[in-house]
Symmetry: C3
Subunit: 473 residues, 3 copies
């Protein structure tokens, strides 16, 4: 078997002087706490603190980065233990792990490879590289560790040095796990994020039942425009009461609208009647971004917009396996005309924070940096999803910094449901940021002390300020 | 206070051999004259040679790069002395300067920072870095210098080694300052550029009055298509008589049209009647690019097209403060279908030069380099506005050179109204070009003597030829 | 005269350690056979093995990379010996060569320069650089060499170490040259590629006569939908019988469709009746991609899609000189919505291979890598045409690898009619790939032994597998 080693200088520039600078910058931020303001871990883990099942169910079957690559190379999802609409397949977890292990070479050059090797080496202490030969050794070692108290969710949370972790729940979620976390007396700061997509996107297959639960939870008449808005206000207050500081909106596009109250009410009537066309649905989503922004001005919640994913692109796979199976594909995005209606309403609000994300890198320098470099309410979220990678993060900095600066950005989001990879992901981000800063220093564009200040800003300060988390003390 | 130092090797590659090559290339071009064929300085400065007022009015209040960043971080424009539609605010210039100085760290990583530090160190000889502590020292030192004869506009022009400087005036401008410059006997070569946007863009708020002045100045009946075209010919001749060699066109898109004479006349009638819709206005702008190109074939003026800025995006700010307040945002651009009607008419003209600019970098390799690498009349303008930056210029070279070569580009434009920053901007461009050439040499893609020839081409020769300025002797 | 030297380390990173890694990787792949699965050489060369005429007719007049650059700088095509619709001009080949040689500096920084210098030095053994002074020396030396047996097409094929070479022929081509190659007993593996564009694109000026030849060759009633499809099946079988493994489709866009059989038949009736509009033509091309994919599922042929070129952009030049005269310009492309109808039909087929190319680099990270990193049938073709260049290939790897990995790519295509440049083009690709891999190793993102495996994969293994060429033994 081949050894598994993590290069201590990984992701730093090859050139020795720049590398030396990057190493020094990184040394100062490597040990800072993890602030994770946007992600998709399951709050039940922290509520129940139950042990994780096994390597396959923890690391393989839920990770769409991994199974999409294997699927692209001809491996059926069943062979990996990925659940279908019919439930989890009967696949032996060990066999699934072997299938993965023998194809681990497919991940060369991908961030998944960097994250997984970090998890294997740093979280589990494994010393050989993953391949077909070491598959069983891995499977056994990981399962053995998972059975120990040190690998329970809360213990890992603490070991990882997580200062803050936000999960994401829908507007129709009762937040039972978050209540349980709070009630448990555990000191870990795990809060929710208000993500009302399912009650805003009339084209979502679960729109109707979500709307009904939304009404039940709030006691509002959510089939009328006023009651619907009031229900949002109530749920936002519920989330805030449990520590949430932010909302999140995953729309097909960044389109916003600025309809009059009566136009909005008429549109809403069409939406709830079920007699709407795709243009109505898009317009309603657009209007709701503006409504959410207005409520954020009222209640101070930070607003995140994640637009531009074409969901469930693979029709057959959606039919058999449902959502979130690696078949979401980015689409071309636009922000300039799209955001204008909302910005006409709230653009100049100094106490509002709207964080923009994109899957279309061509908008970084062309649209997002110029917008964020002007409007007081706008900030740029980090390189997202397919771009959460060394090259993706480098391009983000290269294409946004010169127009928006560093201070209109908000630090890193791990945006993950892969809990064990959180330290790995933050480590990659810290290294890539330090590498970028080191290049600026090496090229005489920044003083070394400025780079050191910025490294800390990019790691903890900007994220705490942008998401209104306090100073971390 | 911290020292202010400019790294003599700034913007060169970190790798020692490539850096050595860049340094040698730069040494040969650093002292060459400044040729500035496109910019927005005020000709009144050179006509009257009056001293500049103070640091805030000279460096801060008119520079949209600076105040847009500060505004994005919550600073009101009033606090910076930026005039609104109601006039200049009562803000104390020293207080405005302090507001800026304490936030100078926001510009880390931006070209404004590079330009300003250059101005502070090289133009004013300041030796400490700008921050809250040094704010007053800066304000006093700058104001003191500005009161001396050596900081009058003409003295600075000469000190900066400017060989040629083009300003930009509208079709309705009487060119009084340019006449005064000529009449003064001063040897500085300051000429205008014919920018007829205000009499071409029927959606511009000043269209009607501009058209009237246009008629008054030319004595033509500009409300009829023939008279309108004749008026353009007259004004182009006026500009040429005062040394202008180029026109400039800042349109919302690069769309061109190729209507018949009767279609054009009918469209023009709608435009001047005021009974036009947005499609008419766009079509008229499109047709006028082709008309301007035809006139350039006749009179030899170089034609510049600067498309794709969404002007005045911030509605409230436009209402309170008017144009050019940092709220212009680039939009997605296209050139292939858009330019075809014009190119069908003039594309194969060998003596015509049409210089294309873009704010949408995704068009560099996809559209602009292939177009300029084929059509004899086309050349590529340098990285523009938000892309006039080290990373922006690097991307421009990386994405255009392999298809269009170096010889279909036209050197650097500073495109600025910030007169004192002109040497800084040209210096950044020279350094970035030398760094790019050095990489090609270090990677065995170009001989060193070729790189030396190219460095000089990119600095002075290409711009002189493209803008028909003579050989600079 | 100046010496002509090829830097043995050209295209490797400047940084010494990364360069050392690149050099070691390259040493292992430099001598591997050339596998060329997609190109446009003339099969007549290998059928007749007749000597090439002269330097101008071989290297200059047919190479649109070269004459488009010269044309962009004002050189008439006639002066270069480029044929017009009226036939070859009377231009003296030596004069044409001199015109080129004196302007060879225009190619600085372009891949043509790299390829040509390689051809001059390695194929012809010339030791001085090309310029006006050496023009005649070059012309004479090249012509002299071409008259010798070692420069006949088959001899060069063998000298170049070509393992496999695919040409491209239309659906209406009788494949006489390929039959002759087979009949000759020569062992060189030269096969065709089925490119049915001319019988699919109803807007192509040669559509009608091509369709008639298509009917004649197959004996099918190609004016009826069923007969038309049957004719495609027959011709695909003809091509396969002569060794072809792939089809190729050069459409204006990547749009696909999924019409019912009766809708398709009705559409086809409109197409052959001549009473169709541009939307019909586009829809028919779209539907035919899906039909071709279905046939590929049946017969195993690899399907290549090359979309997004705006052909014959220069109207006057098309009128005088016809197609392929350097006036094809890339247009903005999209794949996500466009490919969905086809992928709904064949997307999950594990034995189908559809290779996607683009001229719009903004789709690499946004659309192509996410699609290829999910769908089993999809692979990414290499950087194409204007992007077949060092910077273009680097961007391709940087923007696709993190999401699609290396194993969803298919090695290099030279895509050329410039036979003598084939080794040069493969050499550039090998060097750039090794440089990219070296950076990953130097930055601790890949082990050295992994990079060595990948270098071989990218050079020969991936292309053999993707195009179903066998193991090369």
């Amino acid at each position: 078997m081949r050894p598994l080693t993590l290069d201590p200088d990984r992701l730093f520039p090859a050139e020795p002087r720049a590398r030396e600078i990057a190493r020094a910058l990184y040394a100062e931020v490597a040990g800072l706490p993890i602030v994770s303001p946007h992600g998709h871990t399951d709050p039940a883990w922290f509520a129940t603190d139950a042990p994780f099942a096994n390597a396959t169910e923890l690391l393989l079957a839920p990770d769409h980065y991994i199974f999409r690559m294997l699927y692209s190379q001809g491996v059926p999802l069943e062979a990996l233990g990925v659940p279908s609409r019919a439930g989890a397949p009967a696949t032996d977890p060990r066999e699934a792990w072997r299938t993965f292990a023998t194809r681990y070479y497919l991940f060369r050059g991908t961030p998944s490879r960097l994250w997984l090797d970090h998890v294997f080496a740093e979280v589990f202490g494994i010393e050989v590289a993953l391949d077909g030969e070491s598959a069983d050794l891995y499977f056994d070692a990981i399962n053995e560790a998972l059975a120990t108290p040190g690998f329970r969710p809360r213990a890992l949370f603490e070991r990882f040095g997580i200062e803050f972790l936000a999960t994401t729940e829908g507007a129709d979620d009762p937040l039972a796990h978050h209540r349980a976390i709070r009630a448990s007396g555990w000191r870990g700061r795990v809060v929710s994020t208000y993500r009302p997509d399912a009650v805003i996107d009339a084209e979502h297959e679960g729109f109707r039942p979500a709307l009904e639960r939304f009404g039940d939870l709030t006691g509002e008449d959510v089939m009328r425009w006023d009651g619907y808005l009031a229900a949002h206000r109530r749920r936002r207050a519920d989330f805030r009461a449990l520590g949430a500081t932010a909302t999140d909106h995953g729309h097909a596009s960044a389109r916003t609208a600025n309809l009059s109250a009566s136009e909005s009410a008429a549109l809403f009537d069409r939406i709830v009647s079920g007699r709407f066309d795709p243009a109505d649905a898009e317009l309603f989503r657009a209007q709701m971004l503006t409504e959410m922004a207005r409520m954020s001005v009222e209640d101070g919640m930070v607003m995140q917009i994640h637009p531009g994913s074409f969901r469930n692109h693979n029709a057959a796979l959606f039919a058999s396996h449902g959502r979130d199976k690696g078949a979401d594909i980015p689409a071309r995005a636009g922000f300039v005309a799209e955001l204008k209606p909302m910005l006409d309403v709230v653009g100049n609000e100094r106490d509002l924070t709207v964080i923009l994300f994109t899957l279309d890198e061509s908008t970084y320098a062309r649209e997002l940096a110029p917008l964020a470099g002007h409007y007081p309410c706008l900030r740029l979220g980090p390189a997202w999803w397919f771009h959460d990678s060394p090259e993706g993060m480098r391009r983000f900095r290269e294409m946004t910094t010169e127009t928006a600066g560093f201070y209109n950005t908000v630090g890193f989001n791990d945006d993950t449901r892969a809990f064990l990879s959180i330290p790995a992901r933050h480590d990659v981000a810290r290294r890539v940021d330090c590498a970028f800063l080191a290049r600026l220093v090496a090229e005489g564009r920044l003083a070394d002390w400025e780079a050191a200040e910025l490294a800390e800003e990019l790691t903890v300060d900007l994220v705490r300020r942008a998401y209104k988390l306090g100073d971390g003390a």
